[in-house]
């Protein structure tokens, strides 16, 4: 009997031992599978365009310093460490960070940038050498992480400052380098503390155990889980070096929450809280990050600054106590403020409209899980300075309009798209009045009738037939009555409900006369008008109905920007794009979105159209823009839709195009014309961008003095004369009645050449 019991007991022990062994074996396999292929879900990171710095660029010291601050550079007396600068008069000392771009490595540099003559005079290296061009590291503007997902910036152990490692180990796991995954003395200390406190107040977990917990287990505090955690920690220590474990921990540990985004790892935490890379942290900043590990929510420095501060100073004391920093350093650090940046330096929160556009373009090519986990690095054309200007123009412009016109505050909405005319790159995107809030992205999704913004395409169709139309061809601004196929009668009217008689083509456009435009469109043919949309890069050809001439076609601000950018680009169409390059997580190039050109409308016709659209600014519907800027050589067009629901303006200089929409989300009348609404915002925006002028008599057009109302040649005897461009062989040949056609006219033209009028 006793023997049988003994045998049974032995069998049981054997079974239990082998079960435990088996379980350990399985755990081990699971652990190694997870750890060997340690691939964190790395959200795609989206970067702004880097700031190119070179002699001759029109940038003020303030512009550069502004950008440096955005990138988290610090002003210092001595500029040695990367990420610091000093502005001394018109010379900027700068220690830049290096960066691995898609097209090569930009080294960290120590330079002196000289300013003068309204721009950068030169860049001098440490040896007195001239640097022809350099670029700053690009700003992270967002990442594409899964809903309620983890976000992180991976760091390698050798890139982590020693002070951070030493402090972390001192605070979290003093015996890290000597224990085998479990720290018995630590557990004893914790148990004693817990016993004294009558509850769990101290963890006693090693860094290894914390890593296991973060990796595999839920945060419930049960004894079973504790045992499993301890077993796995020992297994982990058997297989992997201390360095590997520490590096994994640094990238895995949870350090904060940004809305739906979980901030993991010290690399991201450094950017999230201080707006700069890990390597540039000051002692007090290191102390705060290490302090947060204990409870990212409880010690949230933004929400609970007082708690965070005392926790940080506790860590600073520990640093000094362990001799990691000197006493004077410690007291200096303890006196420093928390230094945490306002929220949303990164993440998706600051530029949601642009990040949204980038994500949509990527979704066409990549699987969602690749975007949220493969650590792609996306380089875009986003220009933070242009974006700031656009957001400010919209905010201040809408406030001013609502106040000035007694419109209920906060009812107007707006969107803006700014593009580079020459490159077709999208520089900035504003999706709504509160640009920092994700939500309805009006720049992409508000498809509204474009009204008179459609008119330039009618005139382009006409001017592309120089044998039939020139800028001064006279159009009848006369009633139109069209019976439609469905039996209804279409009778458009002018905005002022008046008839203007015979008007030159360019004036019909600049004053935005509906009737003359419809007459012209019918003369040209609606098919031809519709074809201009395709020629200018629009994706869908609109139906060739007569109402198309007056803009009965719905487009988003981005789609309008494509049309107007193409007009600005002078005959070459570049599909608008936001993304320049995509790299994989190792920095290897995956895909480049190179410059693409397409033949567009005739360059000559475009040049004439640009001239006419400049008249819109000079003495047409947009002349009020002169309040904000010199409209001299800019071009644009107002757009207004039925019952003043939509207010549009789109226009350009030779380098930059902007499209602005103003209206209401409920599609009720906003009470604004294109000129009283969108134009006001556009002009504010363009004034701060300082666009370069257009060449108004380019592409082989011949400037000729004419009397527009007579469509005839003029000389100095004519009062109402204007210098109008004509394509070769298409200028008027008749003289206007006012012209004397005498030698005196020639004398005068000689005089004028000298005088420059």
């Amino acid at each position: 009997m006793r023997q049988r019991l003994l045998v049974a007991g032995l069998v049981f022990v054997c079974l239990a031992a082998s079960a435990l062994a088996l379980y350990t074996f399985r755990l081990d396999a699971e652990l190694r599978a997870r750890f060997d292929g340690v691939r964190w879900a790395l959200p795609a990171q989206i970067y702004a365009a880097p700031l190119d710095i070179y002699a001759g660029r029109r940038l003020s010291p303030n512009d550069v310093v502004h950008e440096l601050r955005r990138l988290g550079y610090r002003a210092r007396d001595t500029v040695e460490r990367p990420g610091t600068y000093a502005l001394r008069g018109d010379s900027l000392e700068l220690a830049s960070r290096g960066f691995q771009f898609w097209d090569g490595t930009e080294p960290a540099r120590q330079v002196s940038i000289g300013f003068g003559d309204g721009g950068i005079r030169g860049i001098t290296g440490p040896a007195g050498n001239q640097v022809p061009i350099m670029r700053l590291d690009p700003m992270l503007i967002g990442s594409i992480f899964p809903k309620h997902g983890e976000d992180r910036v991976l760091v390698r152990l050798e890139d982590v400052p020693p002070l951070l490692l030493d402090t972390l180990i001192a605070v979290e796991d003093g015996d890290f380098y000597s224990h085998y995954g479990i720290d018995w003395s630590g557990i004893a200390r914790a148990a004693w503390a817990n016993l004294q406190a009558g509850g769990v107040v101290q963890g006693g977990s090693t860094i290894t155990q914390q890593l296991i917990k973060n990796f595999f287990l839920s945060s419930e505090r049960t004894w079973i889980r504790k045992a499993k955690e301890a077993l796995m920690a020992v297994l982990l220590e058997i297989h992997y070096s201390k360095e590997e474990i520490l590096e994994a921990y640094l990238n895995e540990v949870y350090l904060g929450q940004d809305g739906p985004r979980a901030v993991h790892g010290f690399g991201l935490a450094s950017v999230f809280y201080f707006g700069k890379p890990l390597g540039e942290l000051l002692p007090e900043e290191v102390a705060l990050l290490v302090g947060i590990v204990k409870g990212p929510s409880y010690y949230n420095p933004r929400r609970n600054p007082q708690r965070a501060l005392s926790r940080r100073n506790l860590v600073i004391e520990r640093m000094a106590g362990d001799g990691l920093i000197s006493e004077p350093e410690a007291s200096q650090a303890a006196d420093a403020s928390l230094g945490v940046r306002a929220r949303g330096d990164r993440g998706t929160s600051q530029y949601p409209a642009y990040v949204d556009l980038v994500r949509r373009q990527l979704q066409a090519q990549y699987r969602e899980e690749d975007l949220t986990s493969e650590g792609l690095r996306i380089f875009t054309a986003f220009d933070p300075r242009v974006q700031a200007a656009a957001e400010r123009a919209i905010r201040e412009g809408l406030d001013a309009i609502e106040q000035g016109r007694k419109i209920e505050a906060g009812t107007l909405e707006a969107a803006a798209v700014v593009t580079s005319v020459e490159t077709g790159e999208i520089l900035a995107l504003v999706g709504g009045r509160q640009a920092g809030y994700a939500g309805f992205n009006r720049s992409l999704d508000a498809k509204r009738p474009i009204g008179s913004l459609a008119k330039p395409l009618v005139y382009l169709a006409a001017l592309s037939k120089p044998d039939r139309y020139r800028l001064t061809t006279l159009l009848p601004d006369a009633p139109v009555r069209l019976e439609m196929p469905n039996g209804t009668v279409w009778m458009p009217e002018n905005y002022d409900r008046e008839l203007h008689g015979d008007v030159p083509i360019f004036e019909a456009l600049s004053k935005s006369y509906n009737l003359a435009t419809v007459q012209l469109a019918l003369g040209v043919g609606m098919q031809d008008v519709a074809r201009q949309y395709v020629l200018l890069g629009d994706d869908t050809k609109p139906a060739p109905l007569p109402s198309l001439a007056l803009g009965a076609v719905e487009r988003s601000p981005l789609e309008v920007a494509q049309l107007y950018n193409s007009i600005g680009a002078g005959g070459f169409v570049t599909p608008l794009q936001a993304i320049r390059d995509v790299q994989d997580r190792m920095g290897q190039p995956l895909e480049r979105y190179g410059r693409k050109l397409r033949g567009g409308p005739d360059a000559g016709a475009i040049a004439l159209l640009q001239w006419a659209m400049n008249r819109v600014m000079i003495d047409g519907t947009a002349r009020s823009a002169a309040r904000y800027l010199q409209p001299g050589a800019l071009a644009g067009k107002t757009g207004t839709t039925d019952e003043l629901r939509d207010s549009w303006f789109a226009g350009f200089g030779s380098d930059v195009q902007a499209t602005v929409w103003v209206g209401r989300d409920d599609n009720k009348p906003a009470g604004l014309t294109g000129a009283s609404g969108a134009l006001q915002l556009w002009a504010r925006l363009m004034a701060s961008l300082d666009p370069r002028p257009l060449d108004l008599y380019g592409a082989g057009a011949e400037p000729t003095w004419v009397v527009p109302a007579a469509d005839a040649l003029a000389d100095t005897a004519c009062m109402d004369r204007l210098l109008v461009p004509y394509l070769p062989g298409s200028a008027p040949v008749e003289w206007a009645p006012c012209a004397r056609q005498s030698e005196q006219g020639q004398d005068n033209s000689f005089w004028e050449r000298l005088f420059g009028s």
Binding site: G56, G104, F572
Partner: protein, 208 residues
């Protein structure tokens, strides 16, 4: 054929880029920076005056400028009307026409191209074009890269863009038509290629 055009073009466009053309001897290698020329619009003024006196002897065969040799084949005698051709005094290559930043980037592009990294070269040239979007020589270089990438459509478009910015400069028009010619030829369109070749020859006659 394609490689011949290619090397001639790059020789012309990137002339002076140390990474492409070695200047081993003392004998002059074409082309030299042109003397500064100020036109009404003030655009052409970057040439250096210092080497104005050392124009190369255009008759010795080895140092003969590419520009006076008809493209796409061995040297042929020039048609006999030199006086009818106005001498051109604008920029003849990138170095005459671009600022130091764009030149530095074009040099990097040349180095990358030498390593066989055409994508990288294109990226550098696009960066240069962001700085000087209206520099016809940069467009030509980018067009040439597209040609080497067998993207004939884009090569032709870029050459077209360069022509639209040429303001009659035969040193832009000539190579631009040669790129177009090579692109048409690569696509097997002999007639279009011949047309382009004729336009190129026309432009090259004006190169002095």
């Amino acid at each position: 054929m394609k490689y011949f055009v290619t090397s001639l073009l790059l020789g012309l466009l990137l002339s002076g880029c140390g990474s492409l053309r070695q200047q081993g001897q003392n004998e002059p290698v074409w082309p030299y920076p042109e003397p500064p020329v100020v036109e009404d619009d003030g655009r052409y003024h970057r040439g250096s005056r210092s080497r104005e006196q050392t124009a190369p002897d255009t008759t010795t065969s080895d140092t003969k400028p590419f520009g006076t040799r008809p493209w796409g084949g061995p040297a042929q005698p020039l048609p006999e009307e030199p006086e009818a051709v106005p001498s051109f005094s604008g920029p003849k290559n990138l170095r005459d026409d671009a600022g130091p930043a764009a030149i530095a980037l074009a040099d990097q592009a040349a180095a990358l191209r030498n390593q066989g990294d055409l994508q990288g070269a294109a990226a550098q040239l696009e960066r240069a074009l962001r700085i000087e979007p209206r520099n016809a020589f940069l467009w030509l270089l980018l067009g040439q890269i597209h040609l080497e990438q067998a993207d004939t459509d884009q090569a032709r478009q870029m050459a077209h863009r360069a022509r639209s910015l040429a303001s009659g400069n035969p040193y832009v028009l000539g190579p631009a038509w040669r790129i177009a010619e090579a692109a048409w030829r690569a696509e097997g369109d002999a007639a279009q290629a011949e047309d382009a070749a004729r336009s190129a020859e026309q432009a090259e006659l004006s190169q002095t």
